[in-house]
């Protein structure tokens, strides 16, 4: 059957139309790059998402440090990831790309800081 998709891999957000059979992509139109087809295939088998959130900072000039994942994780596990992130805090100074949680929930993705926060 034909299904429409909006790719979320980059801000171009290509609108695609794919011919699907089960979890296989027979044909695809509208993708701006090969990642488009990869995205649809992933959506059919095991949708993945990256998220951005915040971690509490102790003794920093800011109360929170923004973080993201190094790799997307299963969409179904997003809220588990958020719960895990809520439990921890980091002590300032924090640097961009510093690993805040390694291999979160065993999903193969690290939680890394995306902002520098100096100590008070």
């Amino acid at each position: 059957m034909r299904k429409e998709y909006t790719c979320i891999i980059c801000p171009n957000g290509c609108g695609m139309e794919a011919e699907i059979e089960g979890v296989r992509v027979i044909d695809i139109a509208g993708a701006g790059c090969p990642k488009g087809q990869e995205y649809v295939e992933q959506e059919l088998t095991d949708p993945q998402r990256n998220i951005a959130t915040s971690v509490l900072v102790e003794n920093g000039i800011l109360p929170l440090v923004s973080v993201r994942l190094t790799k997307p994780v299963p969409k179904a596990r997003i809220f588990d990831v958020i719960q895990a992130v809520k439990q921890i805090k980091v002590v300032a100074p924090v640097k961009i790309e510093q690993v805040v949680i390694e291999n979160i929930l065993g999903l193969g993705s690290d939680v890394i800081a995306t902002k520098n926060v100096s100590a008070k």
Partner: protein, 484 residues
């Protein structure tokens, strides 16, 4: 157990605060009980900010007498209490013969009331006075003026506080009993005792009057909606311009500059059941836009900053629906009480004259000893934005917080915000800071400064995130922290 007061005043609007200040001239233990979290929350905060001349009130009425009296003394009052005020004068414009008759009628009333300087002027004189006013002729009332109603109310209350008056916020009067020669006032949180009670409850004055045992007053609520326009629009308007009153005497939509340079368009008038329903309505806004642009051609969408509404608590004859005069009385049914009912426009202008009449009613029953330490003067928070560059430099040198701009639209500094947070009345709301400093009143409506103000409140007052109140009781701004 709270102490026994000589006088408890119910309501901290402009009337209650004026009464508190005037009673403070005497050696009395005075307390003000207010249901909201700050002074100036209801009608006192929702009006056009005008010092009326007094030409629309029936000759001999309390409204007329108090308006003329309050108007005459206001230069001195504004100076004593450090209240922004400009005696701009007002023009009431007309286009046709009906208008001319209407203006002549009000001039006669004004003259009889003792309003100074009223004159019917021609088109040329009108244009010389205010180039944006439309009209073939007008009545000029040179004694009218514009003031900041929030600062005036706050100033009266702060002056009262500085002279020993206690203020209790977040206390709504639920019942009043007379026991052993005293009044026991039960609020939602505690009980107060007083020898005298003064009812300054405005919107709720008929309700409090009944609690005192004085029944029979009916208030009708007339909602008025307003548009607030950007200061850019304010450059075109230097004085209030009103259309000639219609046959019933009311003024149609008009445009008034505020003392800070904004423009208010409104109010309209609509009977409402719920006096505290301050919702602005599509019909009301439509009416203001259609009528407003006739009076003020610069009423453009790009200048709209916000809307608000207020309720006029008019005392009426229940049968005839006729609007009655102010009531200021001491009745035998409620000994040692002073009852003020139905105070609406010109309430700001009449506040101190009414307060003095309240004091006079107590003096008829008791000797009052003067408070030798009474100081009638009070200072507002210094406004950084209005100072010269030299003074600004000195201020920053003395207190670096003057160098941190918090509200960029109005150039309000951290020093002013901190001073407002530590106000002598103990008010802790964001709106309280807004009314004392003008922060959040600009075109971005707090888009830049509100986050900072909320942070400074928590720091200065050691408040939890969930305890930051926006304005009214129960107006928590936040549900908690995101983390921790």
């Amino acid at each position: 157990m709270n102490k026994l007061y000589d006088v408890i005043i119910i309501g901290a609007g402009v009337v209650g605060s004026a009464v508190a200040r005037e009673f403070a001239r005497f050696s009395l233990k005075i307390g003000v009980v207010e249901k909201e979290l700050d002074v100036c929350c209801e009608t006192s905060a929702r009006n056009t900010g005008v010092l009326h001349a007094g030409f629309t009130y029936k000759t001999g009425s309390l409204k007329a007498q108090c308006a003329v009296e309050g108007n005459a003394e206001f230069d001195k009052v504004a100076e004593e209490l450090d209240v922004p005020f400009k005696r701009t004068g007002k023009v009431v414009v007309g286009f046709n013969e009906n208008d001319r008759q209407s203006l002549l009628k009000y001039k006669a009333v004004g003259d009889a009331n003792g309003v100074p300087g009223l004159a019917i002027i021609d088109k040329q004189t009108l244009e010389n006075l205010d180039s944006s006013a439309g009209g073939e002729f007008a009545m000029h009332a040179p004694s009218s003026g514009i003031l900041n109603p929030f600062i005036y109310n706050i100033a009266l209350a702060e002056n009262a506080k500085q002279n020993g008056v206690d203020f209790y916020f977040n206390n709504e009067i639920m019942s009043i009993q007379r026991k052993n020669g005293f009044y026991e006032l039960t609020t939602n949180r505690t009980v107060y005792q007083a020898r005298w009670v003064v009812n300054c409850a405005g919107l709720n004055s008929a309700k409090i009057s009944s609690m005192l045992g004085i029944d029979g007053y009916t208030l009708a609520g007339f909602k008025g909606e307003y548009f607030v326009l950007d200061k850019k629009a304010g450059r075109y308007l230097t004085m209030p311009v009103y259309p000639a009153p219609g046959p019933t005497g009311g003024f149609a939509t008009h445009a008034t500059p505020t003392v800070d340079g904004n423009v208010l368009v409104g109010p309209n008038s609509e009977l409402v059941e719920d006096f505290e329903d301050y919702g602005v309505t599509p019909a009301g806004m439509e009416e203001l836009m259609t009528e407003g642009v006739k009076m003020f051609k610069h009423m453009k969408r790009e200048y709209f900053i916000r809307n608000f509404a207020g309720t006029r608590p008019k005392l009426i004859n229940k049968e005839t629906r006729q609007v009655l005069d102010f009531v200021v009385e001491a009745r035998a049914e409620a000994p040692n009480s002073i009852n003020l009912v139905g105070i609406e426009s010109p309430g700001l202008t009449c506040a101190l004259p009414l307060a003095r009449r309240a004091v006079a009613l107590m003096r008829e029953k008791e000797e009052l000893i003067a408070n030798a330490n009474f100081n009638p003067r009070r200072k507002s928070i210094l406004c950084f934005a209005e100072q010269s560059r030299e003074v600004q430099k000195e201020l920053i040198a003395k207190d670096p917080n003057y160098g941190e701009i918090i509200c960029r639209c109005e150039n309000v500094t951290k020093a002013e915000i901190v001073a407002a947070i530590h106000n002598c009345l103990g008010v802790e709301t964001v709106l309280g800071i807004k009314n004392r400093t003008r922060a959040t009143m600009g075109r971005c409506q707090g888009g830049y400064c509100e986050t900072r103000i909320a942070e400074i409140i928590q720091e200065e007052l050691q408040k939890k995130t969930t305890e930051v109140m926006y304005a009214r009781r129960g107006s928590a701004m936040f549900t908690g922290k995101v983390r921790g």
